[in-house]
Amino acid sequence: MNLFQSEIYLQNKEVILIITLILGILIFSTSLFFIWGKIKPTSNLVELKMRTKSWWMMASIFIFATVVHPIVSFIAFGLLSFVSFREINSISKNVREEDRRVIIWCYIAIPIQYFLAYKGWFNIFVIFIPVIMYVWIPFMLVIKGATEDIARSMSILPTQLMLTVFSISHLAFLLSLPELSGFNAGGRGLLLFIVFITEINDVFQFVWGKLFGRHKIIEKISPNKTWEGFIGGIVTTAIIGYFLRFLTPMNGTEAIMVSLLIAFSGFVGDIILSAIKRDAGLKDTGTAIPGHGGILDRIDSLALTAPAFFYVIYNLYYV
């Protein structure tokens, strides 16, 4: 099996273009902060430098996923879900000691979900976690027999699966979508589009918020989120989405609407995960990616943008 599909890949001009663009932006910002730090050693660039570092990591993961054989990509996404689920499950103070044997079922669900995505069996892929696991986990908890706080575990475990496995697996399913005539970039293009737009939205909500942020949206959950950052972010994201529409089968209007949807759902995913972390008494979850504290901090917006984007594209072009 040829793991690196270089031939297919080199013919795909759109994908090459966007990867060059991503690497260009990263090299630009890394060298900018490096020179800035040399000229003005007093300025505090630690946070920005750390952020660039973790963007390098995210970019390498997703670019790698588009270059190699799909099987490797599916395994990589599965691992991402696995690590995210482990993190969200570990920080939760609501998981009981009696639940440990049931948690194994959640881990078993991960390869199954990615296998369904790999096979492209859409009808079972969409119901496996929200319907089947939603019943199977409470069933296993009941069999285990410890009833104190059992209702809490019944709702927490499926929710954790939804946020970390169901959502991220939609990124993988993009690679299983059939070819459309007249649309070259294919699933790889869609994957790069959603990840890039989600990250851009994160970046610009952060940048606009830092520059002009005055009015807080929900101070109790996420004190750094401001109306200025939010609006600046979604407008910038919509503009960039419009220019990157060549990665997707969308026309201009659709690209703007979908980018707005991604920007909004990215914001929602971000604050949902923030609230969960706050409940666990944590600001950052884990230490896997420098600067962001943990995997969850990176996938928080993707957890909502991936399914949102997927279902819009699927219903517009693949039904």
Partner: protein, 196 residues
């Protein structure tokens, strides 16, 4: 083994470099799981691994020949008896001999694996051993979450994010056994506070 712990179990090693600072040491750690020994040993270098022996309960790991053989093969553990019995060597003496030979030890002064997340009172052995060897530093280690991955009496391993925090090597300053024990305990509790 280290990669298995890191990727599958989700163990995060903190300040592992402090192990490289000394040639001979006594690692003192809290004890919640069979994984504890694996986690500590997987952070040692190959050379250190040969010269480091975890101290294990002979009455648990040595109660059958197969069990004791496997334990010694995989961890090169020194087995000691926890309960007093006639005709066997004093466990402190066994450990002291190993130290005289230049070996490093891994000790769990709680004596047995406690409930997840709770520390039990330290046994005296560590105090006596450090008092006998005041030139050997001890390295405090605190492990968080191991008891959730593989608690006492469970055979099924469930992944959880766990932390292994290493303290700096420390020489004892007192000659009184109970003061030494309190000092060691304090160092481990300090690590616990840093993690929280």
């Amino acid at each position: 083994m280290r990669n298995f712990l890191r990727i599958i179990v989700g163990v995060k090693f903190i300040n592992k470099e402090s192990l490289k600072k000394e040639k001979q040491f006594i690692i003192v750690a809290n004890h919640n799981s069979h994984l504890d020994v694996m986690a500590i040993m997987s952070s040692l270098s190959f050379h250190q691994l040969k010269n480091t022996h975890p101290i294990a309960a002979g009455d648990y790991f040595g109660n059958s020949k197969v069990k004791s053989y496997i334990t010694r093969l995989f961890t090169n553990a020194i087995l000691i008896r926890r309960s007093k019995s006639n005709g066997t060597e004093n466990p402190i003496e066994t450990m002291n001999k190993a130290i005289q030979k230049g070996k490093s030890l891994i000790l769990f002064p709680e004596g047995s694996r406690g409930e997840p997340g709770k520390m039990q009172e330290f046994k005296k052995g560590i105090g006596i051993l450090l008092q006998m060897n005041p030139t050997i530093p001890f390295i405090p280690v605190y492990m968080k979450g191991m008891g959730k991955v593989l608690p006492k009496g469970e055979k099924l391993l469930v992944p959880f994010d766990t932390y292994v925090a290493f303290g700096e090597p420390i020489l004892i300053t007192s000659t009184d056994i109970s003061t030494i024990i309190i000092d060691v305990e304090k160092e481990i509790i300090n690590l616990e506070k840093k993690l929280a």
